[in-house]
């Protein structure tokens, strides 16, 4: 056992290597990393002795050793390599190490993996880079056990909902805290950040890992660390490019074609065409609106990055342009990003200064009203558009007018017209920056401080063109009587947060085995939200997009010339918030066998009243490296076995009410709407009560227990970790009903309790290994997480209805609450239901609703993948999945609704409609009307899915081939597919979603890309 672990021990010792004396013959050579670049500072030692040296700036070494002795080459983050001395020249290439020597980024620092006492998953840059998805969170889907990331928008750059180990709040924030280089950032907006800059992502899952961010970490923490140079590594330049195409995923249902639709309309009495007429009409026009409204989108990106490493300075700089078209008209994201990370240290390494700065500017062009019933929504029209309607003018161009109305009869045209003529664009400027410094003030004592900022500024522009259908019909916010058409709205939103952190750390090792580290921190966090904007009416079509085209607000119209139809509206709001914390953490490690960590923190939030603002959160954790025990020495197949345990609390202050402790009086005019809503009597200003205080509102607290093991066996071929956890949310934020005589229905309160229990397993296995870097290597990996949510305490009678789902004591969050559908009565074609006792009835009543064993959040999530490498070729595949998740299919229900047949195309399933007594079918007779809006489970469908999230085939030309050019050090070319295959029972475009009821959302596309990375 010891010998198996000499590598690590050496590595451990390597930190304390002294200059040694050389003897015997001199062996020399170069140590390089896995990309063939020299590794300065690597340790070369002679096995079994205490002799060793470090490599120089060029990775070169020279050491005196006897023939037959074994040289051990090691470097932090790489697998140690042993070579028996046989010649005087030994060149060694080290492979990066995925398990043992790895350094893991933890809260406010980093730690060797073997010392980590808590549950952390790490995602490395290789699986993040050059993925054609503009939102970092979505790239992480399937890559870490316990992470459930789903989105219900395929708009480029759209962010999803991130759930880590289940959902631990109902009305409070559920997502993990996102930290980029020490700066907390908005977890709902990543579209202006470049994922290629990321070095690694640490997912902190248990209470111990997140205790240091305990005031915002109730949902876990995701720490993103961006790239930096290595000291003494010289300058490296890389150019990367990507080109791709996105298309829609084939929907899992079929709509009627022209002939079927016209025939069905006739059957229902909406037309009286003869067969011949239908034949002629359907031969003439058979429009698949999906093909008109959806399109193939292109993706293009270019990036140049420069990494430098001098003796005292390292840096990483990147400049990138990314452009992606969505799969529907108007959908587009263009982004320019810039990053510079610089580290400077004093020559004695006692002073370190780090700056991280990224700036991103993006232009996000949105399709109109996705996910809504508006006829502007291209996705609703892809379903309901009549196949018998001709989309083209006689000259072959698209018909943007139709019958000129904005009603159902003109439905697909309205969407085409809106997408073509109207505007909805958001420009965003995002800056995330940090400057931090540490100084070793005395032996073992370090102080440090950092200041960080997340700046997000969005300028929105919405124009209803005066000549668009919406404009001509005064369909937006225009006064209906206005003669001059069109409207123009702009809004500005700025969201800026600062955090300042200072610490003092004492770190020492006593008697070689007692490693102690104690730190104390203070942290200040402040956020400022500002938003303002205006909307003007009556646009001059010759002056689009500028104020010169607006109609003056004092213009009058009407029979008495006293109607003011063009008064612009304006609004402005501002909101601030803050947190102040002080906390301490202590770590102790004995001989790399036993480790303990404890933390305690006090946090105050501006959201709560003065008496309740402070919360105390704490954690304890421990680890036992069993493989380092004497009794394990004989166990050869086991390389690592670590037992971990943690227990602790974290807090959540992000409830619905920002100022829950105040009785608030407002002016009722939503930040200044001159056209009236909320106005006082006789058009005056007024003071209204806008919030009733709950002075008792306080922190929502999550208490988590975690026990886990990390293991590696069979020469580290098989490694993995297994975790069990139980999380309890106490003082759950929920609205507590109060008497309506108070003028409100409810107040924000801490009433309730929720529990999440789960198991996570992550495994990786090297099926084929090769010592030769160009040999065949094949590995597989996978992760699975099971989470069970239960609402253990609610207010009132234990049931709170939430549209189609309900919060119910003893049941999971998002449990569907519906009358069970019992099919169709063969005798008369009527819909049948189960009553609450399970008897079949043909009468629908809400009273028969029951809590179903179907929930919106999946019970299992995870991913699995494989990597194959041979010579320059590499194949990587990643599958992601979610099992046992359900969703109400409001989209399909529309095309199976017999009362909508005159305004909406229908699913081909309608052909199975009950016709005569004895028919056994799943589609009731249309004579019984619509069941769509009833609270039944007819359309609550299984949305579990398995998806080929990413597959990449690449070929790398390395130095061996390119060496002669003296220009390139390596070139990588690859072809990549995203979401190429999806398996799901869900009847729709996309089973993935973060909502429990769908209504024509923007589906996730599948994307093919070609890429090129050139290293100079």
């Amino acid at each position: 056992m010891r010998t198996k672990f000499s590598g690590i021990l050496t590595l451990f010792l390597a930190l304390f290597v002294q200059i040694l004396f050389a003897q015997q013959q001199t062996v020399s050579g170069t140590v390089t990393d896995d990309t063939g670049l020299p590794l300065p500072g690597a340790t070369v030692s002679i096995k079994g002795t205490s002799k060793g040296i470090t490599t120089d700036f060029d990775g070169k070494y020279s050491i005196k050793a006897d023939n037959g002795q074994t040289l051990v080459f090691s470097y932090i983050g790489y697998k140690a390599k042993e070579v028996t001395v046989g010649s005087s020249s030994i060149n060694v290439q080290l492979e990066s190490d995925n398990t043992l020597g790895e350094v893991v980024v933890v809260a406010y620092g980093s730690e060797k993996r073997s010392n980590v006492t808590s549950a952390i998953s790490v995602v490395k840059s290789e699986s993040i880079e050059q993925v054609p998805n503009a939102s970092i969170d979505q790239i992480l889907q399937g890559q870490a056990a316990g992470l459930n990331i789903q989105t219900s928008s395929g708009q480029p750059g759209a962010s999803g909902t991130i759930l880590l180990r289940g959902r631990n709040s109902v009305q409070g924030n559920v997502e993990p805290l996102f930290i980029i280089d020490g700066v907390p950032v908005n977890e709902d907006n990543f579209r202006s950040l470049n994922a290629n800059d990321i070095q690694n992502v640490s997912v902190l899952k248990d209470a111990s890992a997140s205790a240091l961010y305990g005031n915002r970490a109730a949902g876990g923490v995701i720490i993103v660390t961006t790239k930096t140079g290595k000291k003494n590594s010289g300058t490296r330049i890389q150019y990367r490019s990507l080109y791709g195409q996105s298309t829609t995923i084939d929907p899992n249902f079929e709509l009627m074609n022209s002939r079927q639709y016209l025939t069905y309309l006739r059957q229902r009495g909406f037309n009286t065409f003869s067969d011949t007429q239908i034949n002629a009409l359907s031969n003439q026009v058979n429009t698949k609106w999906e093909d008109i409204l959806l399109r193939t989108g292109t993706t293009l990106s270019h990036e140049v990055n420069v990494t430098t490493g001098g003796e005292n300075t390292t840096s990483y700089t990147s400049v990138a342009y990314f452009e992606q078209e969505g799969i529907t008209l108007r959908s587009n994201l263009k982004r320019f990003t810039l990053r510079n990370n610089t580290n400077v240290s004093s020559s004695n390494n006692k002073f370190n200064l780090t700056t991280n700065l990224t700036m991103g500017y993006s232009v996000n062009d949105n399709p109109a009203n996705a996910g809504s019933g508006s006829l502007n929504n291209p996705f609703i029209n892809a379903y309901i558009g009549s196949p018998a309607l001709n989309p083209y003018n006689p000259d072959g161009s698209l018909d943007l007018t139709g019958n000129g109305t904005t009603g159902f009869g003109n439905s697909p045209i309205v969407a085409l017209n809106t997408a073509t003529l109207n505007t909805s664009v958001q420009d965003e400027l995002k800056i995330v920056g940090k400057i931090g410094a540490t100084l070793e003030v005395a032996k073992n004592l370090t102080v440090g401080s950092s200041i960080g900022m997340d700046y997000e500024q969005i300028n929105g522009l919405t124009i209803t063109d005066p000549n668009s259908l919406r404009g001509l019909n005064n369909d937006t916010n225009n006064p209906t009587a206005a003669i001059i058409k069109g409207s123009h709205a702009e809004n500005f939103t700025r969201n800026v947060s600062f955090n300042i952190n200072s610490f003092v750390t004492y770190k020492n090792i006593f008697k070689d085995v007692h490693s102690v580290e104690v730190s104390a921190f203070t942290e200040y966090y402040k956020e400022h939200f500002d938003t303002y904007g205006f909307e003007a009416f009556g646009l001059d079509p010759k002056l689009p997009g500028v104020g010169a085209g607006f109609t003056a607000g004092n213009t009058t119209e009407g029979p008495n010339n006293d109607l003011y139809n063009y008064i612009p509206t304006a609004f402005s709001t501002t909101t601030n918030g803050g947190l102040f914390s002080y906390f301490a953490v202590g770590k102790y490690d004995y001989d790399n066998k036993y480790g303990f960590q404890a933390s305690i923190r006090r946090d105050a939030s501006s959201r709560f009243s003065k008496t309740n603002r402070w919360g105390t959160f704490w954690s304890v954790s421990g680890k036992w490296n069993i493989h380092n025990e004497k009794f394990m020495e004989g166990v050869e197949f086991l390389n690592e076995l670590k037992l971990r345990g943690s227990y602790g609390t974290t807090g959540n202050d992000r409830a619905a009410a920002r100022f829950g402790g105040f009785n608030l009086i407002g002016t009722g005019n939503g930040g200044g709407n001159f056209n009236g809503s909320g106005q006082g009597y006789q058009g005056t200003n007024g003071y209204w009560l806008s919030q009733i205080a709950n002075p008792d509102l306080k922190w929502e607290t999550v208490t988590q227990a975690n026990i886990g093991i990390d293991f590696a066996m069979m020469s580290n071929r098989l490694s993995g970790s297994l975790d069990f956890y139980e999380k309890t949310t106490d003082d759950l934020f929920l609205n507590r009903p109060i008497s309506t005589i108070s003028s409100v229905n409810s107040i924000n309160a801490n009433v309730g309790q929720m529990k999440n229990t789960g198991v996570e397993l992550a495994l990786s296995y090297d099926i084929i290994r090769s010592d030769d870097r160009k040999g065949l290597q094949w590995s597989v990996n996978g992760n699975i997480a099971y989470n069970k949510n239960e609402i253990t305490k609610l207010v009132g009678d234990g049931l709170i209805e939430t549209t189609r789902t309900a919060l119910s004591e003893g049941d999971p969050f998002g449990s569907f609450y519906a009358v069970r559908w019992a099919g169709v009565n063969p005798a008369n074609g009527s819909p049948l239901y189960y009553d609450s006792d399970g008897n079949i009835t043909d009468t629908y009543t809400d009273d028969n609703r029951v809590i179903l064993d179907k929930t919106q959040d999946p019970k299992f999530v995870g991913g699995f993948g494989t990597n194959v490498q041979y010579k320059g070729f590499a194949l990587n595949a990643l599958f992601s999945y979610a099992i046992d998740q359900y969703r109400y299919n409001g989209s399909l229900a529309v095309v199976e609704d017999p009362t909508l047949v005159s305004i909406s195309n229908q699913s081909t399933s309608i052909i199975r409609e009950w016709q005569q007594p004895g028919d056994i079918t799943d589609i009731p007779s249309s004579a019984f009307g619509s069941t769509r809006l009833l609270n039944t489970d007819r359309y609550i469908e299984n949305a579990s899915f398995l998806r080929l999230r990413n597959v990449t085939l690449s070929y790398t030309l390395d130095k061996d081939i390119l060496g002669k050019t003296n220009l390139f050090s390596s070139i990588r070319m690859y072809v990549q597919g995203q979401n190429l295959l999806t398996w799901s029972k869900w009847r729709g475009f996309d089973p993935e979603s973060n909502i429990n009821s769908t209504f024509f959302e923007f589906p996730t596309p599948k994307t093919w890309t070609l890429g090129l990375d050139v290293n100079f």
Binding site: A437, L439, V441, A442, V447, S449, N474, T480, A481, I500, S502, F503, V504, T522, Y524, Y525, N560, D562, L563, Y564, T574, T575, N576, G578, L579, F580, A604, S605, S606, R613, R658, F659, F662, L664, I665, G668, G671, N675, G676, S677, G680, Y681, Q682, G683, T684, N685, G686, Y687, W688, L689, S690, R736, S739, T740, I741, S742, S743, N745, I747, G796
Partner: protein, 473 residues
């Protein structure tokens, strides 16, 4: 030593940023209550909001759509069908908004009265404003309670359970019901208090006047069966506010004549359009129309034919719809009208009914004749009533013609059903229901529990001391 100094510097930096800067953050888009009301001008802003919280629109909505004054409109796409079909549950928004709207009004009043307690007027002008605000508060609190009492009590006998009478700021309290008698006592006390604050010189019919207080008292007296008070007070107002002639009558609904208006809720651009209760206001297409029966009973030559219904749409183009025309619009704003709450014609009808209820049938008949004469522009025939049932039936008929779509019909049917024995009856013969009318629900029997509105489900969720109206769950 240098290093130590530097470290101290950095440590000091760590603590110099004040934690209070991050924590003592006040809301900027709203005002903490203690800062909101500190002077008389603040109270004026509070009163502007209180008065805006008074929404008689809820009454005229419910009282028309649920009754025999309406039928399903030609442009109905499902709008208001449930209430029209008498589907009323504890979650029916239109039934519960009368409760929540009036209690929100009462709450805002009690908050303002409480805030006023801590404010001293600075001069005589402020004192006058201050007093008037308090007067308006008490007056509206009385009217709000009267509306609640009318809709949520099973009858108006003193011992019957009614709604909570609230004269304090409810926050987390859970008030229980009071009896009709207790609520009426509270209302009367509020009216008396208001009278002490409202200056007799105020005559603006869009604000609270002494006559407003009298009108509330008269209506209340009729409800509670205090017929002599009803007669006295209504007569007082009839004397002060003559009935409009035919021209004035039409002008009244265009908001250009106030001859017989005692109080109306002022509505200006930006306020809800009353006509939107029954119509799509951009087109004038009706989802609920005037019932065929109501149109059919309008006597020939009666000016009310023009104010009750019209076949002209939003752009004054004739079609086949019988659309509500009590809120045709004003000042060029289609369907924007003041809500007439008290008119002298109601006082005539109160006077007639009080007389009939005290068996003065000829006195009652004379009152009805006066009103009919004014509306037809001639001298109407003097009706004659042999008994209370005949008198009340004829008075109801006249109330329907005179006050339709002004929020009375439902309460009128409710409070007279013990005499007439009739509930809501829609005409099948005239196709207001049945056949192709769009509804098959014709009748609400006189003893139906839905004549009393349900307490909102939300109230029962948050108030353990509240009981549901019998008949609902």
């Amino acid at each position: 030593m240098k290093k130590i100094n530097l470290s101290i510097l950095i440590l000091m930096l760590a603590f110099t940023y004040s934690c209070n800067d991050a924590l003592d953050i006040l809301p900027e888009n709203s005002i903490p209550e203690e800062n909101a009301f500190v002077s008389v001008p603040d109270l004026v802003l509070g009163m502007n909001a209180v008065f805006a919280n008074y929404t008689p629109e809820a009454n005229l909505d419910f009282s028309s759509i649920l009754t025999d004054d309406t039928k399903v409109g030609e442009d109905n796409g499902g709008q208001r069908i449930n209430e029209h079909n008498f589907v009323v549950t504890a979650s029916t928004f239109r039934a519960t908004q009368i409760w929540t709207g009036n209690y929100a009004l009462i709450n805002s009043i009690n908050r303002l009265i409480s805030a006023a307690g801590g404010i001293a007027p600075q001069n005589a002008a402020e004192q006058a404003t201050y007093d008037n605000i308090l007067g308006e508060c008490y007056a509206l609190r009385a009217l709000a309670h009267l509306d609640l009492l009318a809709f949520y009590s099973q009858d108006y006998n003193a011992a019957t359970e009614s709604v909570p009478y609230i004269d304090y700021v409810v926050i987390l309290e859970q008030p229980s019901r009071n009896t009709v008698g207790e609520v009426l006592t509270g209302i009367k006390s509020d009216l008396t208090t208001a009278e002490g604050f409202i200056d007799a010189s105020i005559t603006d019919v869009t604000r609270i006047t002494r006559d407003f207080l009298t009108a509330v008292r008269a209506r209340m007296a009729l409800y509670e069966g205090d017929n002599s008070t009803a007669m006295t007070l209504s007569q007082q107002l009839i004397n002060a506010y003559p009935l409009a002639n035919q021209t004035q009558y039409v002008a009244m609904f265009d908001d250009t004549d106030n001859t017989e208006v005692i109080f109306k809720a002022d509505r200006v651009v930006g306020d809800p359009l009353a006509g939107g209760t029954w119509m799509f206001t951009n087109s004038g297409g009706s989802f609920i129309e005037v019932s065929n029966e109501l149109v059919s009973i309008i006597p020939a030559g009666d000016v009310r034919n023009a104010t009750i219904w019209t076949n002209l749409d939003a752009n004054f183009v004739a079609d086949t719809q019988e659309r509500v025309n009590k809120y045709p619009g004003s000042g060029g704003n289609r369907y924007l009208n003041d809500i007439k709450v008290f008119r002298s014609s109601e006082m005539v009808l109160i006077n007639a009914e009080a007389k009939a209820r005290t068996s003065d049938f000829s006195g009652a008949a004379t009152m009805i004749q006066t009103l009919r004469s004014a509306r037809t522009g001639g001298t109407a025939a003097l009706p004659s009533y042999a008994n209370i049932n005949e008198a009340i039936t004829d008075i109801l008929f006249e109330r329907r013609l005179e006050l339709c779509f002004e929020g009375h019909r439902f309460i009128d049917l409710k409070r007279t059903r013990d005499i007439t024995g009739t509930g809501i009856v829609r005409s099948q013969a005239l196709l207001d229901c049945g056949g192709t009318s769009g509804t098959s629900n014709c009748d609400l029997p006189a003893n139906d529990h839905r004549f009393t509105l349900p307490v909102p489900a939300a109230e029962l969720d948050g108030n353990a001391n509240m009981t549901q109206t019998p008949g609902y769950n």
